[in-house]
Symmetry: C2
Subunit: 208 residues, 2 copies
């Protein structure tokens, strides 16, 4: 199924489809048309049909998609049928909020490691995770075979910490530091910065 | 300059261009080619040139872009030449982390209101902001003419709180609750959910 190369922009939309489908399943729906799903997601129905066609379609003409079937297929495509263990680097406000975040467990993500440099914080517990010193970063990540890290350190420390993560075997980094990381092509990076999202909306507010 | 309708996907990339240009300015660069900017941003140089052409180009053939000129133009396009006041709804871990976030002030954003329902939290101070009860939401937002809100309440409360924000005059919502909000078309919504970003990367990790 992954033999054909699917554009990354298509992949980027699948988690949102999955989330909305899960929401509709909870609301009691069993089937959904691409038109209705499109309304929820604020994109076009043609876009959804085209995106899903990369994986074989899944819809029946006229009856729409079976929500449970589509959820199952999307979970399979996104490799969500098992628990992914994740390390968080930086136990400041944000790192602590992320580690305690209730929305991970139900969606197959478990924060198992939390690192910081601050000796006052090392050894304390956040949620159910004990904060470890970053000196143990490489050893702990290796030992557990972790491939995904969430980076919440200050901007000035982010690049060097990201380099260490890559050396330790991390293949995917979710970066909350407000800068663009320079990393090898084989490492997947996603960047979360509230400012970028706010600025995108400010473009439209200026005219109103 | 905004008379031509620029596709939203183009707008979505401008804040990232701006961030990387600011980073390069700090590193001491004065000019940058689209090729070099593209390497930093992990997109194609053609994409950057095409995106900027919506606003008139800005580059000289052969010499690349003047970084300071481009920063100034992007700030103008995105309406970043003044301070935007923002309200945060929800003073839990995440709302508190956002309110205290150091990366806002230098980029033209000021958190001026923070609301919660929890009477134990109302009246306490987070950063320099006093937590107010949500009962005062409409009044405070009106009084200050605030148009942007950041929503960090639990998923179950998010839709009803978003409806209240829209009624209070909010035009743009940055939503951290893990669900798709149903809102009128004239309201701009951006959704930040670390799970969606992680899932997008898991697609690629499954094959490795």
């Amino acid at each position: 199924m992954n033999e054909e190369i699917v554009p990354d922009i298509v992949i980027s939309r699948l988690p949102g489809y999955l989330q909305t489908l899960n929401q509709m399943a909870k609301e009691g729906y069993h089937t959904v048309s691409s038109r209705r799903l499109a309304e929820r997601l604020r994109i076009s129905a043609a876009q959804i049909r085209k995106d899903l066609s990369f994986f074989g379609g899944f819809g029946k003409q006229g009856t729409g998609y079976s929500i449970y079937f589509l959820i199952e297929k999307l979970q399979e495509i996104l490799n969500l049928n098992y628990i992914w263990q994740v390390a968080v680097i930086g136990a400041g406000d944000l790192g602590r909020a992320i580690t305690r975040y209730q929305g991970f467990a139900s969606r197959g993500i478990e924060i198992v490691l939390l690192f910081d440099v601050d000796l006052d914080v090392v050894g304390t517990t956040v949620g159910s995770v004990v904060v470890r010193h970053v000196d143990a970063l490489e050893e702990e990540i290796h030992k557990r075979g972790i491939r995904i890290a969430i980076l919440t350190v200050p901007a000035l420390a982010a690049q060097s910490m990201a380099d260490r993560l890559v050396d330790a075997g991390i293949k995917a980094i979710l970066n909350y530091a407000p800068l663009t990381l320079l990393l090898p092509d084989h490492v997947h990076v996603q960047h979360i910065d509230p400012v970028l999202h706010l600025q995108r909306m400010m473009y439209y507010l200026g005219d109103e």
